[in-house]
Amino acid sequence: MPLLALLIFVPAAAGLACLLVRSRRVMSALGGLAYLTTLALGIALLPQVLDRGVVTEWNEFLCADALSAWMVLLISVVSLSTSLYAGRYFQRDLDAKSVTPGRVREFFVLTPLFVAGMFLVVLANNLGVMWFAVEATALSSVLLVALYNRKTSLEAAWKYIILGSLGLALALFGTVFLYAAAVGPHASEKLPSFNWSHLITVAPQFDHGLIKLAFVFALIGYGTKAGLAPMHTWLPDAHSEAPSPTSAMLSGVSLKIALYALLRFHILTTACLHSDFSRYFLLGFGLFSMFLAPPFILVQKNLKRMLAYSSLEHVGLICTGFALNTPVTIFGALLHMGYHALTKPVLFFAAGNIHQTFHSLEFRVIGCGVVKVLPVTVLLMGLAALAAIGLPPFGLFLSELTIISGGVASHQTTISLLVVVALLASFCGILQQLTRILLGARKPGDLASDARRMDGVPAMVLLLGSLLLFSVWLPAPLLELLHQAAAIIGGKP
């Protein structure tokens, strides 16, 4: 069964089918069905990858190793939960007339295409096709960001596409340099293949100067899409102006996809140079992102922007984890990717609920004591927030601890200390901001209670439930998968 090809075609077909469908319910169902299928395919992929190490299809055009398989799982889980949430969310928006049916259809057509693009990124073997897929995800998500067509949405979408395209042009530059580095020693011959599976075997023969240049451009380029500071300026705008389901997907997986592309370059560079060149760059950008986020979190007045900065923090942490480059920290970073992907969407879903109830995301409009108005939402949001800031028993605590202890164990104590400081800062920031609005008493005259307060709860429960489950019990196959993925990144074949 062509698993990999189906992973890409099923969501793409669902998205295109939504063009022909009238009813919103059918569109939502199509999407949900597609993502359920991809989740099943992803789970089916798992034993195959563990068995054979690498699964390829279409004459090596599509290729899945352990890292890809892990990303596939993340994408499918987040998409599924988002589609569960999106149905009710847009129903409410349609009722409140803040969006037209045409735009809702746009959402249901573009989102599966966005997901298909993400699958192509992690499954493409050819690095040029990988670039094409990242660009495809960027283009499909731009219109999603601009969905509400407000002035601020258009501004966010414009910044997103301009900075994203600029970044991707640089990433293409890096890809070209990589190609030249690979061709280099063979003078006038054609490169046998630009596939990653081939490149990793001949990496030591690359031209050293060109590969360094390639990595730097790829870092700046894909780093822009991953939201690494200082190229992150589009991130708070895009993630806050997009509708909550899209924000959840953007924060939850699309940042990680860009990081995945960057990782492929990092692995090739390290395999070629056998030095810490790429590692130090990753470290610099990762730490910078981690330290840039907390001050912005503290001064935020908009709920979703604050959550976007929190994503910045987490992406920085994941990047730092990879940069510390020991099997333990890499394992921790991969784990963190997964747990974050389970947590962040919950926060965005809750924020979406709050937005629809209060018709604003500004803290001063929401006031305090939201718990009185939306008790269930706030409960779930509170749990997710505790998870996001790294409290036990949630998995993020575990992954952060793994990264930090791995850093200390490999004598990179200063960096681990810096990581701890940054995490503490954002911990305080988010805690302070959220308790201010969630808890406390409502002022007289504010919204008393909301009839639709159970909206979106199933999706949030699903995610939080999985988070709790996987925090305490990681099934053996998953553990093995993560170990294999860590080995790929760490440079052991």
């Binding site: 040029g128 530059f173 190609y179 006038s188 060109l210 708070p236």
Partner: protein
Amino acid sequence: MNAPTSTEIGSQFITFFAAGMLVFQLLLVVQRMLLTNIRLFALQSLLLAAIAGVVAYVHNAPHVYVVAVLTIIGKVVFLPWLLDRQVRRIGITQEIEPLLNAPTSMLLCGGLTLLGYILTRQFTAMERLGNNTLGIAMTLVLTGFFLMFNRRKAITQVLALLTVENGVMLAAIALTTYGMPLVVELGIFFDVMVAVMVLGLLVYRIRESFDSMDTSKLNQLKG
């Protein structure tokens, strides 16, 4: 004197066309009429296609002809037509005062050219055809960036993005004998087309909403 080999003549012409691309880029930086800018971009892409054609001829690589044809169809005919239609539909044909005035911009771009050459000096030995076309490619990327930040009209920012793409394609041609694999070239081609269409749609919506293409008005979201 020996008859020049086709490689020599080809090299000469490629260098000539690449320098032409650079001159058009500099003109883009100082020129303020939007319609003229679009034509300058079309001419620059035509030179890029010509370079691809010469490479295909000298190295006997038929699939590079495909790249040349794609460039002509896409960047010389279709995209300028699309952007032209957009500009006419919106009705704004002149750029507003840029951040840096024309002479300063020119001098800065001269400096960026020098920077581009310095950055790629160590790789000139790896070039297959033409001298220093990699330097020009890097300069196109750098000046494209500068153009993006110096100008405020949305369409000019789209043009700046496209010139950066041109620079990247030039680098691809300069560094690799047979160009990138065809599937990659096709992918890049379609990406650029779709990107500009999406951008065009956004520009239209921005114009409808803000009543202007001035991107400096897009300053609500801060912090």
